[in-house]
Amino acid sequence: MKINFLIPVLFVITISLLSLSVRNQAPLSKLSEYGLFSGKLSDQQPAQDVVPYKLNTPLFSDYAEKLRFVKIPDGTHIDYNDSAVFDFPKGTILVKTFYFPVDFRNPAKGRQLIETRLLIHEEKEWKAYPYIWNAEQTEAYLDVAGETKQVKYIDEQGKTKQHAYFIPNMNQCKGCHNRSEKMSPIGPSAKQLSGPLDYGQGSEIQLTHWAQLGKLNGIPAKSSLPPAIIWNVPSTGTVNDRARLWLDINCAHCHRPNGPANTSGLFLGSAEKDSLRIGFRKTPVAAGRGSGDLLFDIMPGQPDKSILVYRMESKDPGVMMPELGRSLANKEAIALIRQWIKEMN
């Protein structure tokens, strides 16, 4: 409890971090050392060979906004596929910076950068490294043990919000980024990158842009690209389409046959067709108090009797789903999933 006890602890952490950065080439101890950005680091302007991207329907992380970038090494490319996350070449770096705008209604008022996560495809496998931004917003430092930050902002409705934001530890990255116990990216797939982005010369389809850069081979004609389904934009898909894609990105990284939640028998990938495996009238296995005294994962027509909804609404770490990465409930997504279950028969 005393300060003098903190010193050795901090010392141990520092030494450990130092030894980590000495032992391997990556990770570097500061984000700036990767040269991923040009100009002021906090402006997050990508360097020449770094491409920004945006997912159609992203993972919810306590309303944090995210900036995403990818660096694919010179002379290498991805081969297109329309069903799974892209198979990125070795040396690829995926970059994701989490931030909160000061005022969600007015981006000009500035933002607080919280953390930047790097997913690096090293010689043997993918590795994840979390960097935490300093208070001055001049640099982000590698921190393997995770952290809790207080964040404050004005939300879309003009309400002031303040809450804890959890930065996962390095092991927890793999809690989600896990395919058959191998680290893996989750987001960048054809169905998530089929939407437009403005790279400075007006809006372009991202997949097409990547192909033009020579980074993506074998893309089909524009008419055969997957639809850009945005979970909260009704014109982009049916309730079923949008709900399934939302569950896919928010749940299926664990809840799929080769993911860490495969012991539950609940599989929420958007390609899953077996209604039992999606949770329809499926009894829980090891949900414990996560069941909320309810009998089925999804009770068609009855969101209030569906464990899925109960766990999305909970903020209790022993109950809530996903297990990590949020301390708030995603009200808008809950409304979508409720509607989806309600319209089932």
Partner: protein, 402 residues
């Protein structure tokens, strides 16, 4: 006043940050550990505010200064679904410490080959509540699991729960005041012996459930255990299969196959000393076409049974069943078979083939009933001669080198 307040505030802040620093310090050691390292934790009570996780390591010992000497308390946990999580490792030993009051499971090990828990206490310390976490010690999808000399208490599901794993030894543990004391679920080759299971809702459970990756467990021995006074009111949240276990259950075999139960002391469990039931009795729908819902090849012998002359539980569906259908009064049989057979197995003589039968032999102080649940409990039979047969002994799970 203001002065005191600010001192208090400083104090609180320093506690909170100290918690974070301890957690970060232990977490960093879990992350940095070299293969073959022993991570020694100090004596003392440490308040931990988030899951501690170990991932992708080999040959690690996580060692405390003793059960109830090194205490990691997760009472103030704010994030993470378990206290300790060990995943995708090879040969991890956790010993000599107490893990308590996690928000979800106390200790979860997943996809670990060679996992040992020794002299570990995993418990919820307060009164028994459905708000307690599900599992105290929870290896799942593991191979070669050894749990010995551990204590599990307060779990709203199972104290010691081995799920979807292979090659398991659970010995000389104490499991008390859980919904299920010890549960082996969809697991293959387990030896459960020398344990004390008491004051749980159910003492020792061997279950096979549908819809899972590891479809069929079995080849399990439960022997030399003391299973007594498991009369705790069921405090599991609904929806969970253990929520259906009646108060007063000693041993329950649910759709389990190739299980041998012998030399146990099964004492004063008021509702069912040993139950042998199919999944149908749960009244849950079965949609898994590969799942086998019947118990077969069960051998219960040389156990010692005793119970007080009292009524079975009045609680839950099972309570209703005892009151309105079975009507045993205070003369409750020690061993109950639900009498829902796999019709496909029945031979022309009306019996299972010898290798599939339910055999009950040479138990002391026991009585028996087949409750004929298949025919709405019409022909309840207390004639144990229908189960008068033997099986060859299940083979021993050989201890591996530790």
């Amino acid at each position: 006043m203001r002065c005191t307040l600010s001192i208090l505030l400083c104090f609180i802040i320093s506690i909170v940050s100290a918690q974070t620093e301890i957690r970060k310090s232990i977490q960093s050691r879990f992350i940095m550990a070299e293969d073959g390292e022993t991570i020694q934790l100090d004596e003392g009570t440490f308040s931990i505010d988030a899951t501690l996780s170990m991932e992708g390591k080999k040959n690690i010992i996580i060692k405390g200064k003793g059960l109830d000497k090194t205490i990691l308390s997760f009472k103030n946990q704010t994030t993470g679904a378990e206290g300790i999580r060990i995943s995708n490792c090879n040969n991890v030993v956790m010993e000599d410490m107490t893990i308590q009051d996690a928000k979800g499971d106390c200790i979860k090990a997943m996809n670990v080959t060679d996992i040992t828990f020794r002299r570990v206490k995993a418990a919820w310390s307060g009164k028994l509540s459905s708000k307690n976490g599900s599992y105290a010690i929870y290896p799942v999808s593991c191979e070669r699991v050894l749990i010995e000399n551990c204590i599990a208490r307060g779990a709203s599901d199972a104290g010691i729960y081995v799920g979807q794993s292979k090659t398991i030894i659970v010995r000389n543990n104490q499991a008390f005041e859980n919904v299920a004391g010890i549960e082996i679920e969809n697991s293959l080759n387990a030896d459960v012996y020398g344990n004390e299971a008491y004051n749980n809702t159910g003492g020792i459970l061997v279950f096979d459930l549908p819809d899972l990756q590891l479809k069929k467990g079995g080849y399990c021995r439960v022997y030399d255990n003391r299973i007594r006074e498991n009369n705790q009111l069921n405090f599991a949240p609904k929806g969970n299969i253990v929520g259906k276990v009646p108060q007063g259950t000693g041993i329950l075999l649910l759709a389990a196959n190739n299980v041998e139960i012998f030399r146990n002391e099964i004492i004063n469990n008021r509702t069912v000393g040993t139950g042998i039931i199919s999944y149908y009795i749960t009244e849950n729908p079965i949609k898994d076409s590969i799942y086998y819902p019947y118990p077969t090849a069960i051998y219960i012998h040389d156990n010692n049974y005793a119970r007080k002359h009292e009524k079975a539980t009045m609680h839950g569906r099972m309570g209703k069943l005892f009151r309105f259908k079975l009507k045993f009064g205070k003369d409750v049989p020690h061993i109950i078979y639900d009498g829902i057979p796999d019709e496909k197995l029945i031979l022309t003589n009306g019996k299972y083939p010898p290798e599939s039968r339910i055999c009950i032999k040479n138990n002391k102080g026991s009585s028996y009933a087949n409750i004929d649940a298949a025919n709405n409990f019409k022909k309840i039979s207390r004639d144990i001669t229908e189960a008068d047969c033997t099986h060859v002994a299940q083979s021993e799970v050989k201890a591996w080198d530790k």
